[in-house]
């Protein structure tokens, strides 16, 4: 309710040490509960009546809100259009808000203006049991130990201890072994790109002709696999590593490749996985040849070997070596020659 008016000194400031008066001098006097001031509604019956009517009014508004929400539920059904769903949700929400806020505001206003506002003091009870009860319980424990014969039968104690100590393994072993899936980190070193894999558009899977890419084009690329394989779960994990961003620059703008000879006639293919924490880097600015990562603004210069020009990434993006096959389609010449994505501790082993 209000401040504790306990006249006795509380336990945590009990004077200790030899000189009790020193600790006592540090204490300030308990100011007690402030003087009770009557409210306007306590003294003026007309004001009390007015507030009573106000509270009734707010409760009635709440009733109207409830009725309104039921009416809105039946009158305005979501008809499948965006606007219909929005209108239905809006009306239901507003009606329910009026209904619940009405109850809450009226109840608080009632408590503040009309209910008693006199301060009451409740003393705390000691939380510990009496000394007799504690002695009895301690004795019971001793008796129980004696009855069970723990002291006389050490094998029994050992076996129960062993059983209890072993049991958590049945939970801990499956839990720990399933953390992190499997521990085969070597799969981060390789993607499904290999010599001769054709490049395909994501998500349609159409093949890409070098001649079709105009200067300034960007294509989001996946390895060419049969359409049914693209429905599998295995594909999703492989795609997550293999995605590539293909950019065609004017060959005069291309200063250098990250991997010697990996580009083809101004067409460069870089891993789309950021070397910082693995977000898909795909914001390509055609005029500056800068490739931005949307997560932490790492910026790579595609014209200059995907060198990091800004942001927290530490390494250039791995480059996929590409060339053109007999039919004019873009094909990979090899897998990436370094692990794609963020650094990890076994990367350089």
């Amino acid at each position: 309710m209000s401040e504790n008016q306990n006249p006795q000194p509380s336990r945590d400031v009990t004077p200790h040490g030899g000189d009790g008066t020193l600790a006592q001098a540090d204490r300030f006097t308990d100011p007690g509960v402030p003087e009770h001031k009557p409210r306007l509604t306590d003294t003026d019956p007309r004001s009390a009546k007015r507030n009573e009517r106000l509270i009734v009014l707010i409760f009635l508004i709440s009733c109207l809100g409830t009725v309104g929400s039921v009416v809105a539920y039946f009158a305005v059904r979501p008809d499948g259009t965006t606007e219909g769903v929005r209108l239905s949700t809006l009306l239901l929400g507003v009606a329910m808000a009026v209904s619940l806020l009405g109850i809450g505001i009226a109840a608080v206003h009632w408590a503040k203006t009309l209910m008693s506002n006199h301060e009451h003091v409740e003393e705390r009870h000691p939380s510990s049991s009496s000394d007799e009860v504690r002695a009895v319980v301690a004795n019971q424990f001793k008796e129980g130990g004696k009855d069970a014969g723990i002291a006389r039968r050490p094998m029994l104690l050992g076996s129960v201890g062993l059983a209890l100590a072993l049991f958590p393994l049945s939970i801990a072993v499956p839990l720990v072994s399933s953390v992190g899936g499997d521990w085969n980190v070597s799969k981060f070193r390789h993607t499904m790109w290999k010599k001769g894999t054709r490049l395909a558009y994501d998500p349609s899977g159409r093949l890409i002709r070098a001649a079709d890419l105009t200067v300034g084009s960007v294509a989001h690329v996946i390895p060419d696999v049969p359409a049914e394989e693209r429905e599998t779960h295995h594909w999703i994990t492989e795609k997550a590593k293999a995605v590539v961003l293909l950019v065609r620059l004017d060959p005069r703008d291309l200063k250098r490749d990250h991997r010697e000879g990996a580009s083809y006639d101004g067409i460069v293919a870089y891993s789309k996985i950021c070397t910082h924490v693995g977000c898909p880097v795909a914001l390509y600015e055609q005029q500056t040849h800068h490739l931005l990562c949307p997560c932490h603004q790492s910026t790579f210069d595609i014209a200059d070997g995907a060198k990091v020009v800004f942001g927290p990434a530490k390494r250039p993006l791995p480059q996929l070596p590409i060339t053109v096959d007999d039919e004019g389609y873009l094909v990979a010449e090899d897998d990436f020659n370094e692990p794609i994505g963020p650094s990890y501790w076994e990367r350089l082993k």
């Binding site: 259009t81 608080v108 506002n117 890409i208 084009s217 600015e285 603004q297």
Partner: protein
Amino acid sequence: MKALAARRHHRSAPVVLLLLALLVTGGVYAALAPSPAKADTASTADIETGKKLFQANCATCHGPNAEGTTEAPSLVGVGAAAVDFQVSTGRMPMQMNGPQAEAKPPQMDEEQTAALAAYVASLGAGPAIPTDEQVDGSLGDAANGMALFRTNCAMCHNAVGAGGALSEGKFAPSLFETSDRNIYQAMLTGPQSMPVFNDANITPEEKRDIVAFIDEQREGSAGGLSLGSLGPVSEGLWAWVVGLGLIIGAAVWIGAKSS
């Protein structure tokens, strides 16, 4: 056949054969060659008007014959679609230098824009202005458009096309107010920072699917106030300032003594 075989040593036989071969080659070429992408309706008068407009409004930066200068790129081969996009959205003629040319009320009316487009298209083949049917979102598949938008566009233009920031003051604009034709043309021509998505990369049907997806986003969110669809920034601001403010206000009111 015999008569033909008998005359194969005739003096004029090589000439006749050569003429026949040329005729066949020309005919096959005419039948099979890809039609050059040009505004078909451009008349010589349009091109003349366009040239005058170009020299008055654009030549300062793009050069008297649109060959480009150190200030601005060459317009030879950019096509009518690029001109229509830049001029009808008011981006060109550019008002002032800045990180990028921003959309503003167009300076040219439709006729002038068409004339300029016809002139630039006459300089070299480039993408033509798409037809109304090509850009009609109601004919497209919005679900496929969403898959394509997510892969190719969402990283810059936001998941629903609300736009987003690039580097050094540049930005990808919101697409809610952009016309279907302009969306299509932007993909086709790759204006400013935006890369090109030509018809081999995203086919005309797929472009229309993307337009259909954007059209659906214009209706707003069924969930109510979208707060600009900007995600955690605007939503967080709302929750922390407005939401927590209301809760603190209610706590103060409940705790205050009534007088």
